[in-house]
């Protein structure tokens, strides 16, 4: 039978099918960070178990790290967690990119940079945004701490086979509508549980036209639609990205050429069957802004804050609770919603292309009075590249705060947080209550939209700027 991309990767990784019908799946790369791993390492110690494949396990610290002075971690509990990861990596022989490393960064940004993320492989991490790596045609999904321990001990995971869901983005989005708008549109269409139990495969002209950065943005937010993994079939864009820079763990030379030949077979057969499919016309997608407390609560920037009872998939009470938390009145145009803070960062939108786009909007402009703007590169490599291109100067001249790399205000485990009632235009992935700080109000947008909001002090339809 004709296989989907997912089925091809799955079949290559089934060690055996267990008597209960689940598959024992082999894991090619295990990425580890400080928050979801300490209890897993402790579990190994208590059971007297070792790490089966330290050579396939790679760690960094990203969630807790300060983005100003990273050598002084003032929060002693954060410092203890960071130190625990360093200790565990030493004890179990795992490669660690720590705060002194020029390779440190958000785990989902450094995986592709290092060449750890490769087509056709399996990648897991104790982090739901592991779906990011699917942009390379990699089966990548987030796991809990018990599963982290399981992979450390066995390099395998017993898994029930998920269903397949093809999402086709037909036609091309109209500039400056971006990958972030496409994925928010999908989540708004199918809901935050619409992809639960499925692996999404993104296809269509819009996906083919996207850069790797854009594909990573889309796959990253698969989990916000409930899907543990998202996939894009690798193509010339993928191969060029992998070849463009020195990536220490990617194949080199003749092996790389051989790899490309085999990667070219990694696509769904034209007549392969998916359990579900959906087509969205990318040319019709407008810039998106969330108004509520989950990523499915989203409208076009030209839209208004909705009336309770008028939002498909959400009950009246859901919308009322969300609007009360967000401090928004039904009927308000999104473009008149004012922001206090702008966050440009996270595993969704802190790669070099995202920073170039934001800098393009901010160049020669000034941040609106009273608006705080944090620009947090996703990795030290992204930071260095941005500085080589003088983007840091563009941000600073506009009045933004240029930071060190980390997860930062996406979830505020470090000191970068919103205060109660503060409203933020954020390029991150979750607008949950309190996500960026207790009482903080998050609106998810693209880097273009975030940068424009920083200048205007409120949301603007960035398409009207691009026309000028």
């Amino acid at each position: 039978m004709s296989q989907t991309l997912f089925e091809k990767i799955w079949a290559r990784h089934v060690v055996e099918t267990l008597p209960d019908g689940t598959a024992l799946l082999y894991i090619d790369r295990h990425l580890v960070h400080e928050v979801t791993s300490p209890q897993a390492f402790e579990g190994l110690r208590l059971a007297g178990r070792r790490v089966r494949r330290p050579d396939l396990t790679f760690a960094t610290m990203d969630h807790n790290v300060p983005t100003d002075d990273r050598q002084v971690i003032r929060d002693p509990i954060s410092a203890a967690q960071i130190e625990a990861l360093a200790r565990n990596c030493r004890e179990f022989g795992i490669t660690l990119y720590d705060l002194h490393s020029d390779r440190q960064g958000i785990v989902h940004i450094i995986g592709p940079e290092l060449g750890l993320t490769l087509p056709g492989t399996t990648v897991v991490c104790g982090d739901s945004h592991t779906s990011t790596h699917g942009a390379f045609g990699t089966l990548a999904f987030g796991i809990g701490t018990s599963e982290v321990e399981h992979v450390l001990a066995t390099q395998c995971l017993p898994q029930r086979r998920p269903k397949t869901f093809k999402v086709e983005f037909a036609n091309r989005p109209k500039h400056p509508v971006s990958a972030k708008d496409l994925i928010l549109k999908l989540i708004g269409t199918i809901g935050t549980a619409g992809g639960t139990g499925y692996v999404l495969e993104y296809a269509g002209e819009a996906i083919r036209a996207l850069s790797m950065e854009g594909r990573m943005t889309i796959c990253n937010m698969s989990i916000e639609a409930g899907a543990r993994a998202g996939l894009v079939a690798p193509d010339e864009t993928t191969f060029q990205y992998l070849a463009a820079r020195p990536r220490p763990f990617a194949p080199q030379g003749a092996v790389f050429d051989q790899a490309v030949a085999s990667w070219k077979r990694l696509s769904s057969e034209p007549d392969a069957q998916f359990d579900r499919s959906l087509t969205i016309d990318a040319a019709q997608v407008a810039p998106q802004v969330t108004w509520g407390t989950n990523p499915g609560m989203v409208v076009d920037v030209t839209g208004r804050v909705p009336e309770p009872g008028s939002v498909p998939g959400y009950g009246r009470a859901d919308v009322e609770q969300a609007l009360a938390y967000m401090g928004l009145t039904p009927g308000t145009p999104m473009t008149s919603v004012k922001v206090d803070t702008v966050f440009i960062g996270s595993c969704t939108n802190a790669r070099i292309e995202d920073l170039r786009i934001a800098a393009g909007v901010l160049k020669g402009r000034k941040v609106a009075p009273g608006v705080r703007v944090l620009v947090v590169p996703g990795s030290q490599q992204v930071r260095a590249q941005a500085e080589a291109e003088r983007l840091d100067a563009v941000f600073q001249e506009a009045g933004c705060d240029w930071r060190q790399s980390g997860c930062s205000m996406c979830l505020g485990m470090n000191p970068d947080q919103l205060k109660p009632g503060e409203r933020c235009a954020s390029t991150s992935n979750r607008n949950f209550e309190g996500r960026q700080g207790k009482g903080g109000r998050t609106h998810l947008v693209s880097p273009e939209m975030a940068a424009a909001a920083a200048v205007a002090g409120h949301f603007v339809d960035v398409r009207t700027w691009a026309a000028n």
Binding site: D28, T196, Q321, F432
Partner: protein
């Protein structure tokens, strides 16, 4: 892992859809390197006021739910972050079971629980039970009418029984593999380690860099 066979306890309802793991256990509690101590922080930002006192408007703080051990929730419970701390918090605050409804939207079945939460729950003997939306609605209404209402969740027979003068029962489905592990309290990692020969044989023929059969 602890086993789960049957549990009788008080029902408590949480009338919100899409409860995410950031609400179940906020980020500031994820800095712990221990597996315990999360119970008091379950639903922290809803449960407590700014001064740290219990928020009287949060339903689970009601006297009638004191000691409750079966949580009745709405669709898509546990969405968002993969943090297993969310499951630990639910368990450590005294809950053994979460009931939630699957829903049908546009001809598609939307599961009751987010995927990673459900998986994490299974590893910790927190039973997640999926019922239909009308069944969960009926339980919500019964809990409303009868303070202190108890139920028995029987995994062997895949049955939730609400203890009214006349008992009301609901059948539920569960993956056989998950049921087996829960009933026997099996150690997942131990089971996989028994497959060591198969894993080693796979590793001998698999190149993890290129995820293909090795030519050696």
């Amino acid at each position: 892992m602890d086993a789960f066979r049957s549990h009788r306890g008080t029902l408590a309802t949480l009338n919100r859809a899409n409860v995410d793991t950031d609400q179940i256990i906020p980020k500031q509690f994820l800095k712990s390197i221990a597996r315990t101590g999360f119970g008091p922080h379950l639903f922290h930002d809803w449960r407590y006021r700014a001064d740290g006192s219990p928020n009287p408007e949060f339903p689970l703080n009601a006297e009638r739910y004191r000691g409750a051990s079966i949580l009745v929730a709405r669709n898509n419970f546990g969405c968002g972050s993969s943090r297993e701390h969310a499951v630990w918090a639910v368990l450590q605050d005294g809950f053994r079971v979460v009931l939630a409804p699957w829903e049908e939207r546009g001809g598609v079945r939307v599961p009751a629980f987010a995927d990673i939460f459900r998986s994490n729950a299974g590893k910790n003997a927190l039973l997640t039970v999926e019922l239909s939306a009308p069944e969960i609605e009926e339980i919500f209404q019964l809990v409303d009418r009868f303070p202190g209402l108890e139920a028995t969740v029987d995994l062997d027979h895949q049955r939730v029984t609400v203890h009214l003068p006349e008992e009301v029962s609901f059948h539920f489905e569960i993956e056989p593999a998950v049921k087996e592990r829960l009933i026997h309290g099996l150690d997942d990692i131990g089971l996989t380690l028994k497959r060591d020969a198969a894993i080693a044989a796979f590793e001998a023929r698999h190149d993890p860099q290129l995820a293909r059969a090795t030519t050696r």
